[in-house]
């Protein structure tokens, strides 16, 4: 049968300046939806069409630094890793290109005009790791591909729960569907798997959807404090996410609450007292003024009387 190569270029990375690097980060996340070229069918020995996914790094400047690329794989595939050199270097004849995985050199480098690539069959966990291509002339330029299982994110900040309450720990896998989920609790330095059938009153593990798992811990106590792990099993390996559970007693928020209540009561009392005080002051001031007026009138009246008596006497 004819061997026709099929390449689906998932993404291509160009080394320019940091801002470009950022926009390409975007391209990476929308992998599969952009830049595809030809698609052929390659038949293997088993007569099954296999699509080869190609990852390419475009090396532009010989700066001596190394480029890194993370590739996430969740199931067995055949991939092609390629390093492409800028056309301006195509005149270099004495270019040595090596593909390595750790210390192990990989043969079977297929070369095209400006790119050197290797094809890998990723079948199980042992095939994952870091693969690097090194182009050596007078200076050295290299790029590394990190093949990994999907990363499961736990929660950086601890999850707070209260004694006697229910705690819900959630793990999500972003775009890849795991085969199975397992939860572990850390006891000292050991990781102990949580069996919800053994302790159904305490733990409830619920696979809410394909990519999401919930661990519900009922009637939480201080002993449940600690680090929990959710493990997602993929075809190519396992990945763990870390979550921290922190158990507080109700006294902890109650103290600030009571402090605030005391403060509010104090403020209200002060405001009312000030109001009563200022009203009294106003009243006193008014009474004083009225009193002065009365006094004035009295003296005027008495003066008048005096004058009249004086006049009478006169």
């Amino acid at each position: 049968s004819e061997l026709i190569t099929s390449t689906q270029t998932v993404d291509s990375q160009t080394w320019r300046n940091p801002s470009d690097h950022l926009t390409l980060g975007l391209v990476e996340s929308t992998a599969g939806t952009s830049l595809t070229t030809e698609e052929f069918k390659q038949t293997t020995k088993e007569n099954m069409p296999v699509t080869v996914v190609k990852y390419e790094v475009f090396l532009r400047d010989v700066s001596g630094s190394s480029m890194e690329k993370n590739i996430t794989l969740d199931h067995a595939t055949r991939i092609e890793l390629s390093c492409r050199l800028d056309k301006k270097y195509s005149h270099l004849k004495s270019l040595q290109v090596t593909w390595k995985r750790g210390n192990e050199t990989i043969g079977h480098i297929s070369k095209t005009e400006n790119s050197w690539s290797i094809q890998l069959n990723i079948v199980d966990n042992s095939n994952l790791g870091s693969y690097s291509c090194t182009l050596k002339d007078k200076e050295e330029i290299s790029a590394t591909f990190h093949l990994q299982v999907p990363n499961i994110e736990g929660k950086e900040k601890p999850i707070i729960s209260y004694e006697g309450d229910t705690a819900v720990l959630i793990c999500k896998s972003s775009s890849y569907t795991p085969i199975a989920w397992t939860w572990y609790v850390t006891n000292g330095s050991e990781q102990i798997a949580i069996n919800d059938t053994l302790l159904p009153d305490k733990y409830v593990i619920n696979r809410v959807s394909a990519n999401v798992t919930h661990l519900k811990i009922l009637k939480v106590t201080k002993e449940d404090n600690g680090v929990y792990w959710c493990e997602a099993a993929f075809e190519l390996g396992k990945s763990m996410g870390k979550l921290q559970l922190k158990i507080l007693s109700l006294m902890v928020p109650l103290k600030p609450f009571l402090a605030i209540v005391v403060e509010v009561v104090a403020l209200v009392t002060v405001i009312f007292l000030y109001e009563i005080y200022s009203k009294k002051k106003e009243k006193c001031a008014k009474n004083e003024r009225e009193f002065d007026q009365i006094e004035q009138l009295k003296t005027e009246a008495s003066n008048g009387l005096e004058n009249s008596t004086a006049r009478q006497r006169k």
């Binding site: 209260y162 229910t166 819900v168 902890v252 928020p253 600030p256 609450f257 509010v264 405001i271 009365i294």
Partner: protein, 502 residues
Amino acid sequence: PAPGNDGRAPSPPPDGGWGWVVVLGAFVSIGFAYAFPKGLAIFFKEIQDFFGTSYSEIAWVSSIMLATTYGAGPISSILVNRYGSRPVVMFGGLLCGIGMVSAAFCTTILQLYICVGFITGFGLALNLQPSVIIIGKYFLKKRPIANGLAMAGSPVMLCTLAPLNQFLFDNFGWRGSFLILGGILLHCCVAGALFRPIGAATASVKPQVTGKGKDALQEKAMEVSSPTSVQMKNEMEEEGERDCCEKINQYLDFSLFKHRGFLIYLIGNVLMFLGFFAPIVFLAPYAKHIGIDEYSAAFLLSILAIVDMIARPATGIIANSKWVRPRIQYFFSFAIAFNGTCHLLCPLASGYTGLVVYSTFYGLAFGMVCAMLFETLMDLVGAARFTSAVGLVTIAECCTILLGPPIGGTLIDTFGDYKYMFIKCGAVMVLAGTFLFIMNYYNYRLLAKEEKERKSKEGDPNSVRTENESKKDWNRETAQNGPELEPLREKQDALKKEVNGT
């Protein structure tokens, strides 16, 4: 001895002094009322995970809270008419505190709806209306500034609550945070304590009595008060039986629906609120949709809040200037139309810089509209009837406020594009602004005509009649100002009788 100031028009509100302390209290109160529901959004994700519900079920908490805050407006107005601002605000603060504290112990989402949605929402309603009302009682000449400053409480509180809520959540989880937030909401009681009762005619009640000691008068007043109060009660009963509509209107002035200015304001505002809040709700999702990262998207909202914070008092100052104050309704319509134009131009904004410019202008426009929202209503109906007006307006706005974001959301879902939502909001607001502009122009002309007619009817021999008219107006106003004047009115009437007796 000279009689009291019965014949003259009521003296104006203080316009300063303790009034600025009241503005501070209103700042806190209004700030909590507007910012608290928005600030709660930080907890929603965790509560959703905890109860295992969908996002829309959690969003109902916010909607119920908002609906109760606006829908309970008339109840708030009735209570203020009956008891005055201070007790209502303090009770509202207490209710908010109780609501949040009980929410901390909720075990189902339904309990959360009740505790956070209804109870706290109702408490906030009892905070919002009275705060706005008491500003109208303390200020007249500087009222736009006072309003602008008090309304600035909303963005300031939002900027404070957002990081505070995040901090509380990181340290205490959502239950502990609700408990502590309940305590924080009790500060509304403190704000309420600052709302010293005042009547628009407090100063004029002190009769100018010369040659008599005030103490002597007081003693005589107390002697006379029992028969007089009985007499007054009979008087009041007679009045009550005479017109039951008037009695209802004492609690909630439905006669406002015949008031031209009020109707214009109502229709214009109800229309405006259809497009008012939706852009804020969808700004961050829109930013993320066009590829901006989460933190920069959140920063857009911060820019909006900061510009809003500055715009509100600034608008208050501008609105108070002698050029704008007489034509404040035009300024308000302009602000609404400006707001709408911003939204219409938003789809043209490309990239982050464009959105930053949009956020700045939106913050400015939003602040301008909010600062004048209640000032224009006060301007149209007057401080006396404002109590009932604000209640009726908020319950009418309640529907459109709740409808706005969901309609926007439906537009986004149907067309898959945010620009139709912006166009809808912009169009609605430009329409509302134009409507208000035209109708207020018409209203101003009619008011000027009525004023001219009234002046031409009055001549020299009618000085007595005007005195009686103004006394009638004043009595009506005092009747509507409610219990804040009750003790003063009784005293004043007793003194009047005493003075007339001599």
